[in-house]
């Protein structure tokens, strides 16, 4: 099975991945084989199907209290590719008119 290009483009967009043409050729075949493989799930019959997540169904709670520490923020932002005065820097997100 080969996955059509527009399907690959669609899931790549949803995944925020940019794929080269060569990536797409390789993925069309690989992903096709993977989807044929997992399609067995679709076809498999089980009596009384029930979805479940874990064997313990407890949901622990904790107090809803804010935690603030400038020191912690500074430490965390040492890993930021670009940060200034405690803020993360990214390219402009608001388009400006170039009159």
């Amino acid at each position: 099975m080969t996955i059509p290009n527009d399907t690959i483009d669609h899931i790549a967009r949803l995944s925020h991945l940019k794929l080269s043409d060569q990536d797409k050729i390789r993925l069309a075949k690989n992903l096709g084989n993977i989807i044929t493989f997992i399609d067995q799930v679709n076809a498999y019959e089980i009596p009384n199907p029930q979805a479940s997540h874990t064997q313990e169904a407890s949901q622990p709670l904790r107090p809803d209290e804010p935690f603030r520490s400038d020191l912690e923020r500074d430490l965390i932002q040492q890993n930021a590719p670009a940060a200034e005065e405690g803020l993360y820097l990214v390219p402009d997100v608001i388009e400006t008119s170039s009159e």
């Binding site: 992903l31 679709n42 089980i46």
Partner: protein
């Protein structure tokens, strides 16, 4: 030779003053320097920290404040966050990431006074069964340097097998502790889901990921699990189930233990040498007083496809956090925010990670969710019930092969993802059911490559699995076999 000794023997030597933790640590650091250029099992060697921790451990021993693990060296899989030391998860994405905090597992080991030698190599984001998906290059199997060590905890397995460390941590989402343990001839335990906190362990598939020990023997695994296990409120799935004394029950007789051999794990497709080896393990356990019973787990064959729906689905969500903004890799000169996201992720992730993100996105996308994700969840439940029904029918534990083959040559399956995925055919169902399972060395194939036997038990039965494995290891010496490579130098 120091590195031939077990963790327990090293503990006794430190306690008696035969040598210091600093001498022991220096010995292993020297071995790493001389041998790891060939193996590539370690991404970061933390020599300065190790020497510092060893001195502190020696002081603690002198003060009479040592625990069972004080002064013993350990290698952590590079998936565990380590404060002040790079935590890469085997990815270019985190090549520049220095964690501001320690994972629970790292913290526990540190509090016990263990000495961290470094961070072990792994498949990128724990996605792989051969350790060929690491940004830092493949790991070589010390039993055959042109072969894979298994994955994703391949660096930990190879390092323990080559005696570059007495013990290591690993993580197991679909077999990533047990399969490399089998292929490298060591003992590895995947605990029950919820037994060990996932805090600070970089997530792949959160409902399946679990940390565990990788060591020379079941006894050594028991020593480390004692420290790794326990409740941690920072992981909401971490259990409050009491942690038993794992060492105390190791010596119990296994007389009367009922061991199940699931017929689906011994089909005609299984390599005959591996089948014979597992049957020899069964006979050995029988000679120790256990009884053998054929059982059936009818949903076994559907476990791998169900896993490859659920794990990629979770990974596609978990890895959405890597966007080039707050930490990790960022592309050069992004033209806008979308370009920043897309190029950072495309350049930062390797091919297998991208494949799993895309697969996960596909199965969760509109129109496919019920057919794949919900159905796979139902299969997961059905597989769990299948195991529980066997255990409720007076079976104490199951004995199976760990992997369908021994270590294959590097590059053999890189172009065939399905063949690679099926390397975990005997380990995956355990993760779906959240059960504990252990792989122990059980023999060698014609080429001299290790074969692993897997023991699977009911939830929270780690002590029983370790007991059965320890009794087996008391009467066999497969776990004491060391590859020639480990003794190819004079230290």
């Amino acid at each position: 030779m120091l590195h031939h000794r077990s963790l327990m023997q090293l503990h006794d030597s430190l306690k008696s003053g035969e040598f210091s933790s600093l001498e022991l640590t220096t010995h292993y650091l020297n071995r790493i320097k001389q041998l790891d250029g060939t193996l590539n099992s370690i991404i970061t060697v933390s020599e300065d920290i190790a020497l510092e921790q060893a001195k502190e451990a020696d002081q603690r021993i002198a003060d009479g404040k040592a625990s069972a693990l004080t002064g013993l060296p350990i290698l952590h899989k590079d998936i565990f966050c380590t404060k002040g030391i790079k935590t890469s998860c085997g990815s270019r994405m985190l090549d520049n990431f220095v964690s501001p905090y320690n994972a629970f597992v790292v913290q526990q080991c540190q509090e016990a006074g263990m000495v961290m030698l470094g961070k072990s190599n792994m498949d990128e984001f724990a996605m792989g069964s051969s350790n060929e998906n690491s940004f830092y290059g493949p790991v070589h199997n010390p039993w055959a340097l042109n072969n894979i060590p298994g994955g994703s905890s391949g660096g930990s397995a190879a390092a323990v097998a080559a005696r570059l460390t007495p013990i290591a941590t690993g993580t197991d989402t679909g077999g990533s502790i047990r399969q490399p343990a089998a292929l490298c001839g060591i003992t590895g335990l995947k605990p029950s889901y919820g037994r060990v906190s996932r805090y600070g362990m970089i997530a792949y598939a959160s409902s399946l990921d679990q940390a565990g020990p990788m060591a020379q023997s079941a006894e050594d695994c028991a020593m480390l699990l004692q420290t790794m296990a326990g409740h941690d409120p920072r992981d909401s799935t971490c259990s409050k189930q009491k942690v038993p004394d794992y060492l105390a029950s190791l010596g119990e007789s296994i007389k009367g233990k009922r061991i199940g051999l699931p017929k689906e794990y011994f089909s005609e497709h299984l390599d005959s040498h591996i089948a014979d080896t597992i049957h020899a393990v069964a006979k050995q356990l029988e000679s120790l007083g256990a009884t053998l019973h054929e059982v059936s787990l009818p949903n076994t064959c559907i476990a791998p496809p169900a896993y490859y729906v659920l794990a990629p689905a979770e990974c596609s969500a978990n890895l959405a956090r890597f966007d080039g903004v707050r930490f990790g890799y960022r592309c050069e000169d992004p033209k806008d925010l979308n370009d920043l996201y897309e190029r950072s992720r495309s350049e930062g992730f390797g091919p297998e990670v991208k494949r799993r993100i895309l697969t996960g996105t596909y199965v969760l996308s509109s129109g496919y969710y019920d057919a794949y994700y919900l159905k796979a969840q139902a299969i997961k439940q059905s597989i769990t019930e299948g195991f529980l029904s066997v255990f409720n029918n007076n079976i104490d534990c199951l004995l199976t092969p760990t992997a369908p083959s021994t270590a294959f040559p590097l590059g053999n399956k890189v172009d065939d993802p399905i063949a690679m995925y099926l390397s975990d055919i005997y380990t995956i169902a355990v993760n779906l059911a959240g059960l504990p399972a252990l792989s122990m060395p059980a023999g060698f194939d014609h080429a001299g490559l290790p074969i692993g036997a897997q023991l699977i038990g009911p939830h929270w039965s780690e002590a029983m699995l370790l007991n059965v494995a320890h009794q087996y290891q008391k009467t066999t010496d497969w776990h004491q076999q060391i590859p020639d490579f480990a003794d190819s130098i004079n230290t």
